[in-house]
């Protein structure tokens, strides 16, 4: 039995979505703290541009493309869910998960390449930030993909369709974080 509390909507936003906004808000400050630390170091140290030159823009760009596309499938899944088409929403969520997996695999290959070139997490503070920020973001990608699979399972049966939108909002947030990580880590040289 679901508590009556969950059905109320005094603030004008359904409870699940309201909570997701708070999740996003607290995630903003987590990534914010890390990125503010990075930006302060980056602005102080022009030589980090040379370190950043060793990152591969094309791989980063490809990953941005993957995430943007998976965002599109997430929002299309939401649209399908709004129209009450659970199986279609589930299929689009699987597509989003596929995007997440591609992202992670490409990331792993990229790191593997960089580490084999001698750029490890303890090389210097730029690389520390590089691996920490991308790693923290990568954990969010993996967590989002797992939750998405669970939601897709229920959505397939046309149950709990509102959750499709919730994971979508979270996913778009992860996307936005990457949109900023990409220029910060790859382009600014």
């Amino acid at each position: 039995m679901r508590p009556i509390a969950t059905t109320r909507m005094a603030a004008g936003i359904p409870t699940g979505r309201l909570a997701i906004w708070w999740v996003v808000a607290s995630e903003i400050v987590i990534f914010g703290g890390l990125l503010v630390s990075y930006i302060m170091h980056r602005l102080a140290k022009p030589e980090w541009g040379d370190h950043a030159a060793n990152t591969n823009v094309w791989i980063g760009g490809f990953n941005t493309f993957v995430l943007l596309t998976s965002s599109l499938s997430a929002v299309l899944a939401h649209k399908a869910a709004v129209n009450g088409d659970g199986p279609k929403a589930a299929k689009l969520l699987y597509a989003t998960c596929f995007g997440a997996c591609t992202f992670v695999v490409v990331k792993a290959l990229e790191w593997n390449m960089e580490i084999s070139h001698g750029f490890t997490i303890s090389s210097n503070t730029f690389w520390s930030f590089y691996y920490t920020a991308a790693g923290l973001h990568g954990l969010h990608v993996i967590a989002g993909a797992i939750i998405m699979l669970i939601i897709a399972e229920t959505a397939k049966k046309n149950l709990e369709l509102h959750r499709v939108e919730l994971i979508g909002i979270y996913w778009h947030f992860v996307d936005i974080v990457w949109i900023f990580l990409f220029p910060l880590l790859y382009i600014a040289k």
Partner: protein, 114 residues
């Protein structure tokens, strides 16, 4: 449900937004090839902000959410700006009033080649 009706009214063409995002992505990758620093900064960060705005507005549907959701997220960004402006005078500078960070020579482990 009224919520669904609302979405229908604000129906946006998601594929079109996605296409715009991809064009912006290409511009931000190509920006550094111009070789001018200002252009790079604009194509990198200006476009990142535009992209984030497009995603937040159209994919996260912040445009049809009650205003306070936007205010909430913007407040968090303002707090981060506060954190930056409060700590930048210490972290970002090599010297300040009555203190200095002596030069430290940190070498990256020499990369083999690239």
């Amino acid at each position: 449900m009224s919520e669904h009706a609302e979405h229908a009214e604000h129906e946006v063409n998601y594929v079109k937004i996605w296409a715009i995002l991809l064009v912006l992505l290409v511009i931000s990758i190509l920006g550094p090839f111009v070789g001018i620093k200002v252009v790079t900064l604009i194509t990198a960060f200006g476009i990142a902000i535009v992209k984030a705005y497009l995603v937040a507005k159209n994919f996260m549907h912040l445009n049809i959410e009650p205003r306070y959701a936007v205010y909430l997220l913007v407040t968090m960004l303002v707090f981060m700006l506060l954190l930056f402006s409060g700590s930048a005078p210490d972290i970002m500078k090599q010297e300040g009033r009555n203190w200095v960070k002596p030069e430290i020579h940190v070498e990256a482990q020499a990369p083999a080649h690239h």
